[in-house]
Amino acid sequence: MYLTRFLVWLDATHFSHWMRDSIYAEPIVESIHVLTLTFFLGFAVLLDLRLLGVCMKKRRVSEVLGQFNPCLFCGFAVMIISGVLLFSGDPVDFYSTSFFKIKMILLVFAGLNVLIFNATIGRKVAEWDAALKTPKAAKVAAIVSLVLWAAIVAAGRAIAYVLPPPS
């Protein structure tokens, strides 16, 4: 299978060996991955709570989106890059855990949720921008996002319980 061959190839690369053998590489990349949660997930939660009308009620949704988007984008980029680096340190074992597969599937769903939001109710944001009561569709998107991201964090943490980092 192509995927297995790719994982075995990645596992044998110099970079993968270096990630595994270095004392500092894994702890540093792991710390970046965990602490960037504040940047990415923290802002995502704030945005979802605005969509639910729980916090920042007086602020326009489009303003919150505009102010948060650069942070969300940068935070997500750092999460993906550090995540790929962590994965490449031990790709075959990572892929063998079910929590990793669950996390990847949930990530796809979270991405779909954003795409659907942007293509539907998000496009018409001007119509309900300042409203205290946000439309039902926006609330559904926010709840789906909160549930998915909490599950993604849980699955991610669980990977490290099944597969303790090299020490």
Binding site: L37, T38, G42, V45, K58, C71, V153
Partner: protein, 162 residues
């Protein structure tokens, strides 16, 4: 008794408490509480970040700082409480081990400093009338706040490595 002795007595008490036993004896309780701790981190970190970015004029430049602070305050305090409670649970399950863990010591020192700073000087600057505190001092206060909270997070991550 020597103050250090008191700390050890406290750690032994926590270890032998119901919390300590409960978290230690269960397979899934420690991971579950740790995940709550992580989710709390995301929310607390998000609110601290947005407030400090605002102080430095980097986000929401047209909103008064105090208004944004009042907006995110309940979330910030709520997530801090979640972190303190879940953190105590995690600590109690291996309290005596933590007594000897250097990273844990650093984390507690950073935590005390971060909380003290957040609810005194930081709060005063955030709540002051718009334009009263010069930008230089707002940036200084924001950077110090970010450094203290980052210290808590980094030392916390290091607990598992030392």
């Amino acid at each position: 008794m020597h103050p250090e002795k008191w700390l050890l007595v406290f750690c032994q008490w926590a270890l032998n408490s119901h919390f300590g036993h409960g978290v230690r004896d269960s397979v899934w309780l420690f991971p579950a509480v740790e995940i709550c701790h992580l989710l709390g981190l995301a929310v607390l970190g998000g609110t601290v970040l947005i407030l400090n970015l605002r102080l430095m004029n980097l986000r929401f430049p047209n909103e008064p700082v105090a208004e944004l602070a009042r907006d995110v305050q309940p979330l910030m305090i709520g997530s801090l409480i979640v972190m303190l409670i879940s953190g105590f649970f995690l600590f109690s399950s291996e309290a005596v081990k933590m007594y000897d863990n250097v990273a844990f010591h650093y984390k507690m020192v950073f935590l005390l400093l971060a909380i003290a700073f957040t609810f005194t000087i930081h709060r005063k600057v955030v709540m002051s009338a718009e334009g009263r505190v010069p930008l230089f001092w707002r940036v200084a206060v924001a950077l110090l706040s970010l450094a203290l909270w980052a210290g808590v997070g980094l030392a916390g991550r290091a607990i598992g490595y030392v």
